[in-house]
Symmetry: C2
Subunit: 148 residues, 2 copies
């Protein structure tokens, strides 16, 4: 849950890129270090404003290839804004396992991937067949709860 849990050095990011047969470029390393430094998902607008010297198109292409490779996953928050988060584990190229709960804090706007929460099986009306579930919760995160 804390930042250090995912903290990685540049060398490890380089290894990650190499593992996925992606060239080690400055832009990609910066995107990785920005996303790995946080315990929440990062919104597209945030990525764009912080990494504002990287061309927008390049940023989109980096995000797309990282998603394809199973390095990050995309999650829309409750306002429909795209957010990107580091995949926990078990995600491979074109084959994600990110069916965890997403918590949207209404105060700090943080989007948390709560991998540890198992949500129960949900039954559906006759005839409906689900191959995946996405669960969102909105409210106050731990930090914001304390401050109220």
């Amino acid at each position: 849950m804390n930042n250090m849990a995912q903290a990685k050095s540049t060398y490890q990011f380089e290894d990650l890129l190499e593992k996925h047969q992606l060239k080690k470029t400055g832009a990609r390393l910066r995107v990785l270090s920005m996303m790995y430094a946080k315990n929440t998902a990062t919104s597209q607008p945030d990525l764009e404003s912080v990494l504002n010297d990287i061309d927008r198109v390049t940023l989109y292409r980096i995000l797309n290839v990282f998603e394809e490779k199973g390095i990050i996953h995309k999650v829309f928050d409750l306002n429909g804004t795209a957010n990107y988060a580091v995949c926990s584990s078990g995600c491979q190229e074109h084959h994600h396992h990110d069916e965890h709960l997403h918590f949207n804090c209404t105060n700090c706007k943080g989007v948390f991937c709560l991998n540890e929460i198992k949500f129960p099986t949900i039954n559906l009306p006759a005839g409906f067949h689900a191959d995946g579930f996405t669960v969102y919760a909105s409210g106050l995160c731990a930090k914001c709860s304390k401050m109220q």
Copy 2:
């Protein structure tokens, strides 16, 4: 679940507008009849292409005021596209009760509001306090399941 369940006449749409102190205009009645005629949510692109003689800005303003009044609710599908659906009941101005399951059919792209499905309480990590949940399922709807 079938269309007739929500079928309404123009008079009833006029009553609905009057109840919410909205003027009875052609554009508003057409938006209502389009949305009430279906048992799925309607995407913004669909609304725009079908009601293409209504100015886009007017359409957005109609959707926004209907949402404020609790007549419809907005739901993003799994691609982040805005969809609008008739509120079931209990929705009032600035106070919605639309915490039902949303089913996204990967075949027909339909977004179904499954009011009848009660999803179980989901517990959260210490400190997190949810005031609402949104659950999405993706897969095949009843109609598309049959056809496969």
